[in-house]
Amino acid sequence: MTSHQWFEEHRTAFVARSLDPDETASFQDHLARCAECRQAVVGLERELAWLPMGIEPAAVRPGLQRRIANDVLGINQWQWNRMTTLAVAASLVLAVLTYGLGRRQIQKVERQSAALAQQVRAHQSLLAALEDTVSVMRGASRILQASFKVSNKPGGLLIFADERTHRWNVVVHGLPPAGPDQVYQFWFIQKDGMVRGAVVHPDSTGPTFLTMGMPPGGGEVMGAALTVESMYRPALEPQGRMLAHLML
């Protein structure tokens, strides 16, 4: 038998892979050099191609085909589960963050809104007070003024009297802080005596403004006075030093 004859006879065995390892190696070497055997082997492989189908199909375990597809396509089950878990977790975190941020933003806006409302109310009160003060000044039918000196410093008392609304707007300026146990007392002068008005608290930054109605009782008011009185011994009539008095 020539060398080539041996390979001819063993082509089928080579295709069936039933040659021993050293024979297989020899056959592969021969194939690299022999076109006739290469072509014959290709033909044999085609002719025996269906032979494995002689074995019955096996039942496939549930999920196997999907697992194979995922693995071959590069998405293994662990990655799939991990990706799914991460996606769900990310969605939850995003939802919680969105809710939290939204909630915090809403609370912040609510706080800012409440602060602004409070500021608006304060400004409205101030504006109402200013409007009231200005209305008394603008509606004043009489304006009275007196000067005084306290600790050699000049001061003054200004009264805007609105007879239509029976209110006075009183402006005091140049008053130093009251002495120990002393207060500055404003009085209404009536025909039958003096009636206690408001205590004047000096404003160190500027004039002190007071808006006051006429004293109860309906007595005719003829003038006003400003005195220094004892804080602890309030009296029905002025007892202390007279700083200024004005008559209508």
């Binding site: 006879e9 063993h10 089928t12 065995a13 069936a16 892979r17 039933s18 040659l19 021993d20 390892p21 024979e23 290709v42 044999l44 492989e45 085609r46 002719e47 025996l48 191609a49 269906w50 032979l51 494995p52 189908m53 002689g54 074995i55 019955e56 199909p57 096996a58 039942a59 496939v60 375990r61 549930p62 196997l64 085909q65 697992r67 194979i68 597809a69 693995d71 071959v72 396509l73």
Partner: protein, 216 residues
Amino acid sequence: MTPPPRSVPPSDQSVPGPGQRGRFLSVTAERSFGERLLARDERALIELIEIATPWLLGISQAMLSDRDEAEEVVQEAFGIIWNRIHLLDPKQGGLIPWLLRITRNRAIDRLRARKRRRGYLERLSSLTSSAETVTPASEPNEAAHPGWHVHESVHAALTGLPEDQRQAVRMAYFEGLTHSEIAQQLGIPMGTVKTRLRLAFDKLRVTLATIKDWVV
């Protein structure tokens, strides 16, 4: 001597449903599969896995007698097809035959690696016992399996062989034994083994040449 081992779906395993009855994977359709795979159509791969897995698993399981290892072989085969589809040569029989050949070759590689690990005599004993434990098919759901027509033709061709030739084919082709291993196991001269195989394969080549399409 019995025909090549037939694997039987255990009762706790799923069996493909009858929805695939009447489908026909012609040479043209198979070529289309190849073209789609070449175009990296993942859907085509998934369809191919659905259709071919039971057959590939049957082959690898019958050869390896190990379900887990058989599934690994099938997965490897599909991986090779997907990654080397550009090497598909229609002259060698088309996509399905290529897949069958890859599966069988991978199974043989594993059998031989196993033999190297365990030793030759132990392997022979294992093969004998495992071959005997394979349960013959009992009323398989034929219509549920695309390709059943091909299986019947091949099986008929195998059962038509004389007993000694069929035994040689089974040991060589489905159990991955070499000539010398078969001779040693059967206690016959190696020349006799070669003769039996040559005669058997000559008959099979004639019979199998009539199979053109894979009825699915």
